[in-house]
């Protein structure tokens, strides 16, 4: 059995906001600030339990006899994280080698609506249960109007080294239309405070494609944002997310999204302006000066393991993904009962894992190396008994077929892309996507072209088996 990959990132969710943006479908509640202290307790409990569980796994990985000798908890195969949702928080052995993430991310919601005292408490949690010596990046999300010098000082003192600020627009009318609860002036002020507090690494989020915003107006917003000097920016199109107020308005015919052409123009404008000012588009919606890419997100997109703690938080480790139920009361209740929060667990088949790595990797400028992903797939398959979510590799492609595919047949030491059914599908699909001008080949890597970035979802769907 292969040892699972180490947890690279830890995410802590803070599901509280001071209102609800129109487009928002995140799990965030307003009017529940009274529960924050209990929530922080629960959050700490979950992190503690998870970190024990994962330490235990790391220690025992590859050695079943060691597990038996320890006699601790119930013996369970290393890969069986799938049922951790039912385990008791006390079941695991006490930590000896704590989790040592490289990135920490506190998102929401709006972590900065916490009081100064609560924020300090939140920031103190990780160090008690994690080994932070490998930590390279610690991000906290903030919204203008909730961020002040005092809070920034708390964050700075705790070791936070990156702020992600939800500016969304620098136009008061647009902000109001989006249902934001701050002004453009407050956003500018927040940026100034971040810089003044000594944060070199920070990000500014913008939402584009808002209907009714003129092209020139949007370009001004982007220019103004760049002028605020963030080394990182995220630019998203306004979308209709299931469950959001906006989605309801659209369904009722009271609102509409921008048409295809408008969206295209809007996002292209942003890309041009940002590129011109030295911000590189390293992912579909993310731009950064070299070295300022968000490590946490990049790690997630590369398919590395991360632990998400908190109500509605998502995790990926040990070939599984699980998401805590988006239900604050259930989360608090579970903590009081000393059990893990209710969660949905999905065991990833080797093929699903490979597909995820490909399609999310492809969203980044660095692209993907299909042959490497397939090799990992083969390796994981080889470690699984046939029949456990594993398919016998199909070796059906002849030498001539391979030759005909030319460049798309990636030679590997042990074979080529086409040795499995998935590999064959990828090879033919990549060949077609290349002809259609959506994907480029860079050595063994595949990278989206500009048009491919516009159609990233379509490309992903094509590559799914």
């Amino acid at each position: 059995m292969r040892a699972s990959s180490p947890i690279e990132g830890v995410y802590l969710h803070v599901p509280f906001c001071d209102g609800k943006c129109g487009y928002c479908a995140f799990y965030s509640l307003s009017g529940r600030t009274g529960d924050i202290d209990d929530y922080l307790d629960a959050l700490e409990l979950e992190l503690e339990a998870e970190s024990r569980l994962h330490c235990y796994r790391r220690r025992t990985a590859g050695s079943k006899s060691a597990l038996a000798r320890l006699g601790a908890g119930r013996p369970r195969p290393v890969d069986a994280v799938g049922d951790c949702g039912t385990s008791s928080m006390q079941a695991a052995v006490s930590p000896q080698v704590p989790l040592a993430p490289r990135t920490l991310y506190m998102g929401g919601g709006t972590p900065t609506i916490l009081t100064v005292r609560q924020l300090a408490r939140l920031c103190a949690i990780p160090a008690r249960h994690l080994d932070l010596r490998r930590l390279k990046e610690w991000t906290v999300e903030a919204n203008p109007g909730t961020l002040d010098a005092e809070r920034l000082a708390v964050l700075k003192a705790a070791g936070v080294n990156r702020i992600s600020l939800g500016v969304q627009s620098l136009d008061d009318a647009v902000l109001a239309r989006l249902g934001r609860r701050h002004t453009a002036a407050q956003a500018r002020e927040a940026c100034a405070l971040i810089r003044a507090a000594g944060f070199r690494n920070w990000s500014l989020d913008l939402i584009g494609c808002v209907p009714g915003v003129m092209a020139r107006q949007w370009a001004e917003t982007v220019r103004a944002a760049v002028a605020l000097g963030p080394p990182h920016m995220s630019v998203y199109a306004l979308t209709s997310e299931e469950g959001s107020r906006l989605a309801g308005q659209i369904a009722a015919g009271d609102a509409a999204l921008l048409d295809e052409e408008g969206q295209l123009a809007c996002l292209h404008t942003a890309e041009q302006l940002l590129r011109a000012s030295g911000l590189r588009r390293y992912e579909i919606s993310n731009y950064a000066r070299p070295g300022f890419e968000c490590r946490h997100n990049v790690s997630c997109w590369r398919g590395e393991s991360y632990l998400g703690v908190g109500c509605a938080a998502a995790s990926h480790a040990n070939h599984s993904r699980w998401t805590n139920a988006p239900d604050l009361d259930a989360y608090l209740q579970a903590a009081r009962a000393g059990s893990m929060p209710p969660r949905e667990v999905e065991r990833l088949t080797p093929e699903t894992e490979a597909v995820e790595r490909l399609i999310f990797g492809l969203r980044m400028a660095e692209g993907v190396e299909p042959a490497g992903i397939l090799a990992a797939l083969d390796a994981r398959n080889a470690s699984l008994p046939i029949g456990v979510g594993r398919r016998r590799p199909r070796r059906a492609v002849t030498g001539t077929q391979q030759a005909r595919r030319g460049e798309d047949a990636v030679a590997l030491p042990g074979g080529s892309m086409e040795q499995s059914a998935l590999g064959t599908h990828w090879a033919t699909t990549f060949a077609r996507l290349r002809r259609e001008g959506l994907v480029r080949t860079l050595g063994g890597r595949r990278v989206l072209t500009a048009r491919g970035r516009d159609l990233a979802d379509t490309v992903a769907v094509e590559l799914m088996p």
Binding site: G9, Y11, H13, Y105, G107, S234, Y236, A237, T239, S240, E241, L257, E260, E261, Q263, L264, L267, I284, S285, H296, N297, S299, C300, W301, Y306, G308, A313, A314, H316, R321, T323, E346, T352, V355, E356, I359, F360, R363, E436, L438, R451, D454, L455, A456, D457, T458, A460, V461, M464
Partner: protein, 600 residues
């Protein structure tokens, strides 16, 4: 000729919903063929689909014992018949085994199109017709007017027509007497030979092929060896029996009786209705006058959505065919759709029912191609060929002319809709032959139309222009020369054979435009622009373009979002998989239906 005075063989014919099944049930109860406590509405309509759609597809004979008021016991053989236009052949094959028919007319609705068509069929089959006015319990019942309609339109005396309520049972006991008194008993030649008429056959999973027979002359019993005179097959008779209404074996099936025979035959498909059964040892010198052979009238390619379901589809069709000898199929392949079957149906409803059964009973997703009738192609070299698939049409340079099948349609509608109905008929290249007044409110139009014009959605339009009141039935009247062309639809420059159709020249441009527009609406944008063209003989007559997709909606995708985002994409993928890949274009299943939709 000898008469068999104690037997009556009859059928009930009616427009849909006029109460045929209800009356049949009532007769079964009154004769204690079934007991009231076992009564399940409409005993004779046994397929689920039939019950749901309220139509009978198959006829199930049943034998009743009736002691008449004169004290004599009669044997009444009732053959239930379907009412729908598509199944005219079923009606007519039951009729061959009967001497009489009850023509049931709803006292509230009056004579309808199927009443007319079925009555004409009964006359053609030399049946004694007794009109029965049903539903006299309804407040809207107007038996006087209905009786007059029957006399005027059908020329059948109806002044003393029994007036009943099949639902309440009122008048049904008297109707039994009427059956005995007015319907003629069967006659036999009594020449020492055995002749039994095959009028249907079904496949029973346990017992094999069950052949429905009406013994015309002589007797049949288990142990006999018999020949089927037209098909040349022979079989040992393992069992003979009667329907009470379930199958019950009897030692002998006697002259004049209706029942079943189980032999050693393997497939219902081997057996043709209308064949004559005789004894192998002592064969009759000549067969009974056969019945009109059933020819499928409408053809369509049926393909599995999933190409890997081909074998499953074949197995499903084999099974359906066992019980539905009117349904034909043979393997064919399409460039667009891969491997499938060319299927023959009696009409559009039959096509729909077969598709629905494939879906329900065999869990198959199928696509069917543009339906076609059988065209006669006269070539310049003097030969003629019949084609049921536009793909097979020869190069125009070799064709002298084409002929298409025509129908005579009876349409009954409200006076105020005459104009709209006539316009609809004329739009469909129809010609009015006759207009007759039924009563103060309704008229019957008799018109001649090409069959291919009613194939797709004529009924829907008829119902819509008449706000649901019009009814229609038709009969086939043969072929006429017609100015027909083959129209192809091209997707991204490639002809999609599944969409090809043969169409009247004058309608091609209009129809081509409609089809292109319909496809434009249902085919989602691709990564490239897709021209959709309609062409005759490679000349483009209509064109639409689906613009290339340029942008996906780029939603935020942070780390924790990966499984949600992946599931969203997986759902999109599922949707795409359900589409049919034709060349480089993914065509959703609705496309195959949407091209059938016209706008009048």
């Amino acid at each position: 000729m000898r008469t068999l005075p104690n037997i009556r063989n009859f059928c009930i014919i009616a427009h849909i919903d006029h109460g045929k099944s209800t009356l049949a049930d009532r007769l079964l109860m009154l004769t204690h063929t079934i007991e009231e406590r076992n009564f399940q509405n409409q005993v004779l309509d046994s397929m689920d689909l039939e019950r749901e759609r309220g139509i009978t597809i198959k006829s199930h004979p049943v034998t009743m014992k009736y002691v008449a008021r004169d004290g004599v016991e009669y044997e009444l053989n009732l053959l239930d018949t379907p009412g729908h236009v598509d199944f005219t052949y079923e009606v007519s094959r039951s009729m061959v085994a009967c001497e009489g028919a009850l023509l049931v007319v709803d006292a509230g609705q009056g004579v309808e199109a199927q009443t007319v068509a079925n009555a004409y069929l009964a006359v053609e089959n030399n049946l004694e017709i007794v009109p029965v006015i049903n539903k006299i319990d309804l407040p809207s019942a107007n038996p006087e007017v209905v009786a007059r309609q029957i006399e005027e339109i059908l020329s059948i005396p109806a002044a003393d027509a029994p007036r009943i309520s099949a639902k309440s049972g009122l008048g049904v006991a008297d109707l039994l007497e009427t059956i005995v008194q007015r319907l003629p008993p069967p006659k036999t030649r009594d020449d020492g030979f055995v002749r039994a008429l095959v009028f249907d056959s079904v496949y029973d999973a346990f017992r094999g092929v069950v052949v429905y027979v009406r013994v015309m002359d002589g007797e049949l019993k288990a142990g006999d060896r018999v020949d089927l005179m037209n098909s040349g097959l022979s079989s040992d008779v393992k069992e003979v029996g009667r329907f009470h209404p379930g199958m019950e074996p009897v030692p002998v099936l006697k002259t004049g009786q209706v029942g079943y025979l189980i032999g050693t035959l393997k497939s219902a498909g081997d057996i043709k209705s209308g064949d004559t059964i005789t004894l192998t040892q002592h064969p009759a010198p000549e067969a009974l006058p056969g019945m009109r052979e059933i020819h499928p009238m409408v053809f369509s390619g049926v393909y599995p959505v999933n190409t890997s379901d081909y074998e499953k589809l074949k197995a499903g069709m084999d099974r359906l065919r066992l019980n539905d000898s009117a349904f034909t199929y043979q393997p064919e392949s399409s460039v667009a759709l891969g491997f499938g079957f060319r299927c023959g149906f009696l009409g559009l409803l039959h096509l729909e029912i077969v598709q629905e059964r494939l879906r329900r009973e065999f869990d198959l997703d199928v696509i069917s191609t543009y339906p076609s009738v059988v065209y006669r192609v006269f070539l310049k070299d003097g030969t003629m060929e019949e084609i049921d698939n536009p793909i097979r049409l020869q190069d125009p340079s070799r064709i002298d002319h084409l002929e298409e099948p025509m129908i005579r349609a009876y349409i009954i509608c409200q006076n105020e809709n005459i104009g709209d109905v006539m316009k609809l008929v004329m739009d469909r290249r129809g010609v009015m032959d006759k207009t007759e007044t039924l009563d103060g409110q309704r008229v019957m139009l008799t018109c001649t139309m090409p069959l291919n014009e009613i194939l797709i959605d004529f009924h829907d339009y008829l119902k819509s222009v008449s706000r649901g009141y019009a009814s229609m039935d038709y009969e086939h009247t043969g072929y006429v020369k017609s100015d027909l062309v083959k129209m192809d639809i091209m997707l991204n420059g490639e002809v999609v054979d599944a969409f090809s159709c043969i169409i009247h020249k004058d309608k091609a441009v209009y129809r081509g435009r409609q089809m292109c527009e319909a496809l434009k609406d249902v085919i989602p944008p691709h990564m490239f622009a897709i021209p959709i063209q309609a062409a005759i003989n490679k000349t483009v007559i209509a064109r639409e373009t689906i613009r290339a997709m340029r942008k996906d909606v780029t939603a935020k995708c942070y780390g924790g979002d990966i499984s949600r985002k992946r599931k969203l994409l997986e759902r999109q993928k599922e949707g795409k998989k359900r589409m049919k890949e034709i060349g480089s274009v993914r065509v959703p299943q609705e496309a195959f239906i949407s091209v059938l939709k016209t706008t009048g």
